[in-house]
Symmetry: C2
Subunit: 567 residues, 2 copies
Amino acid sequence: MAEDRILIIGGVAAGPKVAARARRLLPDAEITVVDKGRYISYAGCGMPFYIDDQVGHFRELFSTGYGLPRDAEYFRNERGLNFLTRTEATAIDRVRKEVRLRNLETGQEETLGYDRLVLATGAESVMPRIEGTDLAGVFKFRDPGDAQAVKEYLETRNVQEAVVVGAGFIGIELAGALANLKLLTTVIEFQERILPLTFDSDMARLLEERLAAAHGIEFRTGERVIRLEGDDQGRVRRVHTDRGAYDAELVIVAVGVRPNVKLAREAGLAIGRTGAIAIDQHCRTSDPDIYACGDCVETTHRLTGEKVYSPFASAANRQGRVVADNLAGRPSIYRGVLGTAVLQAGSFNAGRTGLTEEQARKLGRQVVAGLAPQRDRTHYHPGSGMVILKVVADGESGRLLGVQGIGPGEVVKRIDVAAAVLHFGGTVNDLTELDLGYAPPFNTPVDPLQHTANALINKLEGIVETIGADELKAKLDANEDFVLLDVRLEKEAKYRKIDDPRRMLVTLSELRQRVEEVPRNKEIITICDIGVRSYEAYRLLRGAGFTKVRSVEGGMRTWPYGPASMF
Amino acid sequence: MAEDRILIIGGVAAGPKVAARARRLLPDAEITVVDKGRYISYAGCGMPFYIDDQVGHFRELFSTGYGLPRDAEYFRNERGLNFLTRTEATAIDRVRKEVRLRNLETGQEETLGYDRLVLATGAESVMPRIEGTDLAGVFKFRDPGDAQAVKEYLETRNVQEAVVVGAGFIGIELAGALANLKLLTTVIEFQERILPLTFDSDMARLLEERLAAAHGIEFRTGERVIRLEGDDQGRVRRVHTDRGAYDAELVIVAVGVRPNVKLAREAGLAIGRTGAIAIDQHCRTSDPDIYACGDCVETTHRLTGEKVYSPFASAANRQGRVVADNLAGRPSIYRGVLGTAVLQAGSFNAGRTGLTEEQARKLGRQVVAGLAPQRDRTHYHPGSGMVILKVVADGESGRLLGVQGIGPGEVVKRIDVAAAVLHFGGTVNDLTELDLGYAPPFNTPVDPLQHTANALINKLEGIVETIGADELKAKLDANEDFVLLDVRLEKEAKYRKIDDPRRMLVTLSELRQRVEEVPRNKEIITICDIGVRSYEAYRLLRGAGFTKVRSVEGGMRTWPYGPASMF
């Protein structure tokens, strides 16, 4: 194509990816990228780590690995791209194939023609309509300008207390960063738990408890922010909710993002049910000459077939590659997401892929789930840390539906492995058969993910019956008559125990000798530290003729009702 | 079964696993484990990390995560197992279903009947028949007694120089441990490279170069140890090879292990072609009442269908579970291995799964491979480290055949993900489509494994032609006429460069302007740091009409011919 003008609107993640690969595949195309911002091609996901100084310099968020700033000049020289910053695309004329542009510095307007257009207009922070969001010290957290503004505010003001509004991924990462800076940090979330859309309540609650215990973060879930109160200098000083008020000299609002679709909508392009731009498998919009990718599009959840809005940098990059391929006549396709997402906050990692138990149940599936704490590597290795994994599967087919994980240990590797199993539609049994790498610095001989899958299979096959923390709590509170048989060592049970008269301590190593002391006329609920000895005790008691026995899944490590667990 | 006597011979890894699960599934069985050693249920893989004090106490190698020693008493009390240590099984009478036992402490003999027998007799170190292996200071490294003996020798003798004989997994881990202790460490390997059976020569050489540069380990490959020389105290002081002699006050021989099959062979059980006990998918031997598992059996390579000897703790555990299931009437199967293996030595990680390029070629496959260095997470994250991954695939079907990785960064996660893809028979394209977790502490938006897969696809589709380090070296040495176009920044090329008159430095950002300076009548070989900018330059030159262009795969980071690379 002698006259191939490719115009890309958006220069953060998906846009530059399209541009760079299109340049390589189409040496003669005229490729222009426009972005309304001052910062382009930046590492948005790195910003929370800039706040707590893990990322040392602001410029690193915009630099290549070899130290060049990724600015318009870099893209012009190294990538052969025409990059217009501070340039807003205000309208698309699909008939004339032109885009109206306005230079935000000079106000100057111009019209640029295209043969093919790519929308990578991204997303913007949702800012709730409440009083006080315009106060000094109140920030959104979407682009590097926000990150730098927060950083400057922290460096120039005496901030002691901070509030993060919203307990999604960004909110939790930010809370971790602020807590790392030793601020008294409160997270306020309207939903009843943190990470409400992505984790099951049991897992979310465990992470919340750990973050609170280890980093002193205060969580206020089920509370709605009503108003931000300022001082007479116009600076925020208190956050009012429907249930209380919290002092804060810094407030970051991270309640979510919404796709930037105004341009697409006004141009008459199809918008999907999620509110993001609708695309096909080639990332093509309803106009065959217009592609879209990144945080402005909706995609398909590969397990449900449903359209979802899933704004992640990894998806943006893959979509960008697909768009470039298609621009160059290579029919690459993008199949969608599995909902994989990972985060680090303070000393904890968390991740998830596929469906949660709650999501799967809502879809009407017959769901089974297994949860287990394990060390991420051999317990004698100095780097070892706990992980709690939850495996969700289809109860009929055994097909894996999702995995969630939290802990100070290596969670993300297990999430990635699970994502690979989900990609192929594998079962829980497949999980157990994977030939994963074992050496003491990396793993246990039975990988925690496989251990959890084994535990789930044991449940499915009736080798063990378990009870979860919530049901046990309810039984305790309802004053039901049963024996809580704690089979740990006395030292383990000394401080961290469920302090209740129904609890009976018989160390597993004594249980065989003392089995006649265990009442045969009551339900026996066995408990230990992580659920392995309680399972052993379960089998022992069943073998000894006890019929009503259950083992507490995950043991004291997954007991969120205090005292705070060692993790 | 009222009278169900299960006898298990071997108490290290597979044996106790069988015993524990069999106990849970068969509460009424009489289960006995015999082991000739003093130590049972030990963490053999942890021993190298005990040598360099990463594992603080010897007892940790035998303890549960909650601090109990895993001795015979533990197994009796907690697991309900009869455990006989220092007891050797000397003969199996399959007709009478009896095993002859000898107590190695008292010399007393007895006969024990069984209904079902499990052989988990493990493996032993191969000790070459050379002069001097009986000298003080010469050790094998198979059981905790060996580890403790090495440790004591290090603590009581003034050891300054050490030799490790054998550059397999254990040898390399040990060399890392000894180098961590600041010993001058020499590894002597008969084959032409380290990790000869498990890594391709290009990857092995890169790891060798890194271990030498970072830890001062000396590698002597292609050398055969002839004789160990002692001093007049009977202590080793020098190692003689067919090519030299190396001072050493400590020598560890780690040339491999062989399965303990004497008992099985004498009992007339089928021994496989690999020399290990033959088993079926249920881990049953040629005698239906005798199972076998762990380091004494051979297994199936799932990609080739061939029988292989693959003695790994993870396989032992999975086989142990399968044996126990079958003992209990549950028809579990063990499908075999993918050859996954990982190690840590000094500050480097290494791992592999599936087939190497060389293995695949030997099988007559049409093989393609791609190699790429990348950071394991965002370059601005403080924990970031390099990994070099190599992806091997079938050239016709695109089916993934194997992945190898080395580097200070997180290699093993990528190996595990690749093992999952291999499990399902996935393709390189599947690799690129996986929805892996991305956040800056864990990954780059395009995971290094997916980046490497993309690079391989680019090669397959003719988007780039590459040249490897070896071929480039040969061209340089053969005084061929070409241009080595180094497109890095001047600062990058200052110290680490291929110092040759054919090298021409044109920074990528200047290349578009200066393209006419590049000779059109010569082959152009582009090179950069990791192969990304050289690929960009390749596409630029091709777009500018150059026809003979190639990009150096992996760039200077995979150039093993010095000067030593920063890793």
